[in-house]
Structure formats: structure tokens, C-alpha cells
């Protein structure tokens, strides 16, 4: 197994940012990121093709409240160190940007994922950005909420 994906702590206010090390050379990680069949295995079924400007979709089963389709367009491609595509997952969210950066490391490859652009879509998206950025999600929601919800169960209307 690889290490856990951890927040890098340098995230811009409107981004989700994670970094992870894989004990494999960048060329292998690059293939897993840019071959449609490989992406389908670890991410979602898709019609990705490694061409600048290529428009594609990720498709999964419809979920509660979600069409299950993400519309994307390849906007950066620099083998074997950078691939980026737009990511548009539904009307309430703006078109966001997913960027993968690969760097050789002592043990293999350091992969950095940045999912950015949440501030581009007006108030609803701004709220999400603010909530993620404030850390509120991690303190109240993650640490205190489970116990709180148990306590609230009886008194809830």
C-alpha cells in the first residue's frame, strides 16, 4: 500500500489539495493518469484521450440528486509531469479545474492533486469554497457532529 493522501497545507482558499507518494516511477503513474482504461479502473468510466482540447466525460451510475456525469476538457498535457482538465459536475457547481502534477521522488513519484476553481461560480459555489477553506467542516462537522447527532436524536422534532 501507499501512504495516505494528505492535505498539503498550502491550499489556495478555493482549492482541495492533496499529495501522495507512490513507489512507482513517474512514467507508470503517468500511464495510470492518461490511459482511459486505467482511469476507468481507479477513477471512473470515461472516454478520456490524452490530447489537448479533447472533451470527454466521466460517467457513473446516477446517484441521489446527481446525474452521474462529469464533463471535462483537457487543458494541459506535459508528459510525464502535468495533466489538467476542466471538471464540471452539475449546475450548482461552476466549471472547476483538476490538475495532477508528478515529480520524481526518492521512493518513486510524488503526485499532487489540486481541484480548484470553486470561487468562480457565484454564491452557492462560494459557500462550499468557504466551508472547505474555513476548516469548519473539519472541526464541528467531523469531530463534534457524530456525538452531537446522537445526543440530538431524542430531542429532534
Amino acid at each position: 500500500m501507499t501512504g495516505d493522501a494528505t492535505p498539503t497545507g498550502t491550499a489556495a482558499r478555493d482549492a482541495i489539495e492533496l499529495a501522495i507518494e507512490y513507489p512507482h516511477p513517474p512514467a507508470r503513474v503517468w500511464r495510470a493518469l492518461t490511459e482511459s482504461a486505467a482511469l476507468a479502473r481507479w477513477l471512473m468510466p470515461n472516454d478520456f484521450s490524452p490530447r489537448l482540447g479533447h472533451e470527454f466525460t466521466f460517467r457513473v451510475e446516477k446517484a441521489e440528486g446527481w446525474s452521474g456525469v462529469v464533463h471535462c476538457r483537457v487543458v494541459a498535457l506535459e508528459e510525464p509531469r502535468l495533466v489538467a482538465y476542466t471538471w464540471s459536475g452539475g449546475p450548482p457547481l461552476p466549471e472547476t479545474l483538476v490538475t495532477f502534477t508528478l515529480e520524481p521522488s526518492a521512493s518513486g513519484t510524488r503526485l499532487r492533486l489540486v481541484h480548484s476553481g470553486f470561487d468562480a461560480g457565484g454564491p452557492p459555489a462560494l459557500s462550499v469554497r468557504d466551508i472547505l477553506a474555513s476548516g469548519w467542516g473539519s472541526t464541528l462537522l467531523r469531530e463534534r457532529l457524530p456525538a452531537l447527532l446522537d445526543a440530538l436524536r431524542d430531542g429532534e422534532e
Binding site: V29, W42, L113, V128
Partner: protein, 109 residues
């Protein structure tokens, strides 16, 4: 990522986007409170705090109860649970998939 759920929940997300309202929810996490106690930590008037509470009420995040001449507020778990579900799904999405990428790299020749 279940982005669509956000559409139906926009009032909830707009409500918790404001730092004062998030702080109010934090205070209410300690239990039911009268407006007076909720207003105490803020450098703003009681009516201003009441307005923020109104937004939280309309979004279904808190409920109010009259106790004599006092209004007391408490958290409504149901709405918060939805927020929690949505946010954790969103954040967890990439974490889970990067770990799946790790397993994929282990398994494939």
C-alpha cells in the same frame, strides 16, 4: 461526486457560508441557548444576531422555542447531517480515489 444535492440544499449552504452563522452553530453545539447568550461573544447588536439566527431558522438548521419572554435556540440535527454527508463525500472523493490509484499501481504489471 454528488454535486446535484447542493442544488436543493443551497439555502443551507448559503446559511453556513457566513462566519458569524458558523460560530452561532458552534455555540449551539454546546446545547440550547437564549439569544442573549448567543449574542454575547459578538461585537454586534442583538437584532443583528437575531437576523443571522433568522437565516439559520429559514434554512432549517436551528429551531426556536419560547420560554417565558425569552427565545431559545437549538440545533436541528437532520439538516446538519445532510451537510456533513455532502461535505465528507466531496472531500473524501479524491482521497479515496488516490488510494485506489495506489492499489491499481500495485496490481497492474
Amino acid at each position: 461526486m454528488a454535486a446535484g444535492t447542493l442544488e436543493q440544499e443551497t439555502p443551507v449552504y448559503a446559511a453556513i457560508a457566513h462566519p458569524v452563522r458558523r460560530r452561532l452553530l458552534d455555540l449551539l453545539a454546546d446545547g440550547e441557548q437564549p439569544v442573549k447568550a448567543l449574542a454575547a461573544p459578538f461585537a454586534m447588536s442583538r437584532p443583528a444576531v437575531s437576523q443571522h439566527l433568522r437565516v439559520l431558522l429559514d434554512a432549517g438548521l436551528v429551531a426556536e422555542r419560547r420560554d417565558g419572554r425569552e427565545r431559545r435556540y437549538h440545533l436541528r440535527g437532520e439538516r446538519l447531517r445532510e451537510v456533513h454527508r455532502w461535505l465528507s463525500r466531496y472531500e473524501r472523493f479524491w482521497r479515496d480515489h488516490l488510494e485506489r490509484l495506489g492499489r491499481y499501481l500495485e496490481e497492474e504489471p
